[in-house]
């Protein structure tokens, strides 16, 4: 279980409590956070759940797979070193308190 704080491009900040195994994409969409689409339903196929993860916590996440790295090349907003796809990050205790910023656009 982990409390994750999503900050939308508007500045709106929302903290949600996610059960282990939920992806950040699922957590955001199920909790009414705007700014994450996840059009493919979490298959790492559409690149519309782009997010920026708190840089100091990058080491707490499992590294991006080759497939995710490739799909990150296709995100609509600027790709940064802390860019990830929210559907590929699964909640666990290691992510407690994680801060995630969302880009202004996903498509």
């Amino acid at each position: 279980m982990a409390n994750i704080t999503f900050v939308e491009a508007s500045g709106q900040s929302t903290t949600v409590n996610l059960a282990d195994g939920w992806s950040l994409m699922q957590g955001a969409t199920a909790n009414g956070i705007d700014g994450i689409l996840g059009e493919c339903g979490g298959s790492c196929a559409c690149a519309t759940c782009h997010c920026y993860v708190d840089e100091s916590r990058l080491g707490d996440l499992s590294p991006a797979s080759e497939g995710e790295l490739a799909m990150l090349e296709n995100v609509a907003a600027e790709r940064r070193p802390n860019s990830r796809l929210a559907c590929q990050i699964k909640a666990s205790a290691a992510l407690e308190g994680l801060l995630v910023h969302l880009p202004a656009t996903q498509e």
């Binding site: 059009e39 339903g41 790492c44 490739a70």
Partner: protein, 418 residues
């Protein structure tokens, strides 16, 4: 009346259209009508992680109710539309009430084809389209596990093969019956069809190609017990999943006199033959510049046509002309397809296909389809980089030669002139 847009269908296309209307500045009312019990949810996981029991239903949510409310999108579930009155600009709902519209969006989806055989409607025979379908299949799978009954999948297309892979993951005995000589024959190159056949066999699924099915066998309670073939042999089954394609839900549109041909005919902007009515997603058939019709059933088509349709209702032109793309997850393989392979006459393989059953090979490769010298489509297996590059090549109309496509030493991105 003030501007009121009614959207029939609360799936991917309907939701996208509603979103795009608000993003585009539409300030009138938006009513989203869904004929299922649930609000908008993701369908793609239904044949995969959700069916495997790796997700709960809350994880399928596409847009939470509060998001729809914030955007003033009025969602109504469990409601269907019985008629469209174009002259009066009204839709009649199943409960007899009417809703006026100034703009109407048809996002009615598609319905799986049912098995036109004796016993095709037996208990334990299912298609997979909705959450309820997936729940019924999951329940039946649990019974099959308990009673050690085999699962038969009819149709070696994407849905069928994804269900077969999920059933194998759950340890079920699975046989896929495919009527043609190869799997995914209408989309994949022969060499990749064969590779997928190996993949399924190596994971323990049995495949029967050129299958001739005579009937579904049932017990006295009309519950499936097996599938009888034309030669009289019987495959016992506790569950039959039918994935033999879908038909566009264009009945309402037809009854209202809109142009329909294997779907609701739309232009690249999602416009139907009535200027107040647009359509998006699986229910449509797009008229191309050469006069032919293109039917696509995909998430990308639903979202892009949704955006086009919303723009059209706002008086803008936003044609959807991007390269079509699709994906399918089976076992640990992600197949990503770009372009339309129909008519291909030669193929190049980029990377090492290896043997599908050999887990020591990463199995990252792509198959390039050509018609003559022209690149038509690219199918990538665990090779997202190739896939995205293919979309760019196809969008730009840039074609590598067959030799270049098959040569890992040639940087295909270089052909894009960047």
């Amino acid at each position: 009346m003030s501007a009121a847009i009614v959207i029939i269908g609360a799936g991917q296309a309907g939701v996208q259209t509603a979103d795009a209307l608000r993003t585009g500045g539409f300030a009138g009312s938006i009513t989203l009508l869904g004929n299922e019990a649930y609000g908008p949810y993701h369908r793609p996981p239904l044949s995969k992680a959700w069916l495997a029991g790796e997700m709960d239903s809350a994880q399928l949510v596409m847009r939470a109710p509060e998001v729809l409310a914030r955007k003033a999108i009025a969602l109504r579930t469990n409601v269907s539309v019985s008629a469209i009155n174009r002259a009066a600009k009204l839709v009649t709902l199943s409960d007899g009430s009417t809703l006026p519209y100034t703009g109407l969006v048809l996002a009615t989806g598609a319905t799986p084809r049912s098995l036109p055989l004796p016993g095709g409607d037996a208990q334990g025979v299912f298609a997979l389209r909705s959450r309820d379908n997936a729940s019924a299949i999951a329940e039946r799978m649990a019974i099959c596990i308990e009673k050690q009954l085999p699962v038969i999948v009819i149709g070696g297309g994407f849905i069928g093969l994804e269900v077969a892979a999920t059933a194998r993951k759950k340890g079920l005995n699975v046989t896929v019956l495919e009527a043609t000589p190869r799997l995914l024959g209408r989309v994949l190159a022969p060499v990749l069809s064969d590779w997928y056949a190996d993949l399924h066999r190596c994971h323990g699924a049995a495949l029967v190609l050129d299958a001739r099915i005579a009937a579904i066998e049932t017990d006295a309670q009309n519950t499936v017990t097996g599938v009888r073939m034309a030669d009289g042999s019987v495959y016992p089954a506790g569950l039959v999943v039918v994935g033999i394609g879908v038909a566009a839900n264009d009945q309402l549109a037809q009854a209202a006199g809109l142009a329909c041909e294997r779907g609701i005919v739309v232009d690249a902007c999602g416009r139907t033959s009535d200027p107040s009515i647009v359509a998006a997603g699986d229910c449509t058939a797009r008229r191309l510049a050469d006069g032919s019709l293109l039917r696509l059933e995909s998430v990308q088509n639903a979202t892009e046509q949704g955006k086009s349709a919303a723009a059209a209702l706002l008086g803008l032109e936003k044609p959807f002309t991007a390269t079509p793309w699709f994906w399918s997850d089976q076992y640990d393989k992600k197949l990503q397809m770009a372009g339309l392979s129909m008519g291909a006459d030669q193929w190049a393989v980029r990377g090492d296909m290896g043997y599908a059953g050999d887990t020591s090979i990463a199995g990252s490769f792509s198959v390039y389809h050509f018609k003559g010298d022209q690149l038509l489509a690219v199918d990538s297996v665990n090779a997202s980089k190739d896939h995205l590059q293919a979309r760019k090549l196809l969008d730009a109309g840039v074609s590598p030669t067959v030799a270049q496509a098959g040569d890992l030493g040639v940087d295909l991105a270089g052909l894009l002139g960047r």
